[in-house]
């Protein structure tokens, strides 16, 4: 069952960026909201160390996958909003296609074992 499945760090390595891009592709967002969104969508299965999301976001920004701008949040604190760039959108599309292909291949090999 997904709810009891534990995703270890290795499973996530290389895929966190895709997940972040997917969340951001729905509109600009800031770190805390992204972390919450990921947690909610995965039913709590995906629990990232909250502080460790930022280095990934910064790297993605350096590589031009996302862009950022500062503005004031509702509480008056400065808040950094991220959005997906064209390059990020292309990367997301490619990664999503690869994932779909991988899932299909795994399903065809694992068959019923994946459900059990």
């Amino acid at each position: 069952m997904v709810s009891v499945m534990r995703l270890n760090k290795k499973t996530l390595d290389g895929n966190i960026e895709t997940l972040l891009l997917a969340v951001l592709s729905e509109g600009p967002s800031y770190g805390y909201q992204i972390v919450r969104e990921l947690g909610e969508r995965t039913g709590g299965v995906l629990k990232l160390g909250e502080g460790t999301v930022y280095p990934v976001l910064h790297r993605m920004q350096e590589r031009g996958l996302i862009a950022a701008r500062w503005s004031k949040g509702p509480s008056g604190r400065p808040r950094k909003y991220y959005r997906v760039t064209r390059r990020g959108g292309t990367a997301l599309k490619q990664n999503a296609q690869q994932w779909a292909g991988l899932v299909e291949v795994m399903q065809s090999v694992l068959g019923d074992a994946a459900a059990g």
């Binding site: 805390y32 460790t52 930022y54 280095p55 509480s75 950094k80």
Partner: protein, 242 residues
């Protein structure tokens, strides 16, 4: 604003070690916004302010983990007291860099208890071109080791295409006790030149010279830089989450 959160952020930024004030401020502001947002949510769920703050910090992660990850990706110099240092010059328990110094070092030039890369010095060395140390494996170069193997292997107990040592085995081997496929003097000129050099050179003297010229200064530099890093970290409040 919470003092506890500010002290937590002090510690994160200490590990992050950002030189640019602009970058440091931006990182700090972003982390603070996250923590305060979490505090507000925890309070809305019914936690007391103090509990909410500690919950937010706990969820955010150990300041060392967060701070180290916030370091620049591959700086000129990266010195760490924990984990893996990555940089042009990397110093840490594990080090990955062009010049890597550590318990386990991986780099073009690697020096450590275990060293791997192109050129290495250490207790156990696995390199492509040159190794000097206790145990060594060098598939495409010279191993100058107590015990080991290489294309050309020189040392106490060695094996290689060309080998010279107390106990030597190889295609062309010579030494105190040798197991050689062909007579050593039929070895290619370039290989003979290297083994001749090893034979004529006083091995012990050579090793001592190497030690003085390279290893000891490097070791001292590494220790000094790690000590400096420790002192920098110790200068802050060590109480939070430690």
């Amino acid at each position: 604003m919470s003092q506890v959160i500010e002290r937590y952020l002090d510690r994160v930024m200490l590990y992050a070690n950002r030189k640019s004030e602009h970058e440091a401020t931006a990182i700090r502001d972003e982390q603070r916004d996250h923590l305060m947002s979490r505090v507000e949510e925890c309070e809305a769920e019914g936690l007391a302010r103090e509990e909410a703050i500690f919950r937010a910090i706990e969820l955010h992660g150990h300041p060392r983990t967060v701070g180290y990850r916030l370091r620049p990706r591959f700086p000129w110099v990266d010195v760490r007291s924990h984990g893996t240092a990555r940089g042009v010059i990397a110093i840490g328990p594990r080090a990955v860099g062009v010049f890597a110094f550590g318990g386990a070092a991986f780099g073009v030039f690697a020096i450590g208890g275990f060293a791997a890369g192109l050129f290495g010095i250490g207790g156990f060395v696995a390199t492509l071109l040159f190794a000097w140390g206790g145990f060594g494996i060098v598939p495409a170069g010279v191993a100058y080791v107590g015990m080991g193997a290489g294309l050309i292997a020189v040392g106490g107990m060695v094996a290689g295409v060309v080998a010279h040592g107390g106990l030597a085995a190889g295609v062309w081997a010579e030494g105190g006790r040798e197991f050689s496929l062909y007579a050593a003097d039929t070895a290619p000129g370039w290989a003979r030149a290297i083994t001749d050099m090893a034979r004529d050179f006083d091995m012990l003297g050579g090793m001592t010279l190497c030690m003085i010229a390279l290893f000891i200064p490097t070791l001292l530099l590494t220790l000094w830089m790690q000590h400096r890093e420790q002192r920098r970290l110790a200068a802050s409040d060590p109480w939070l989450l430690e």
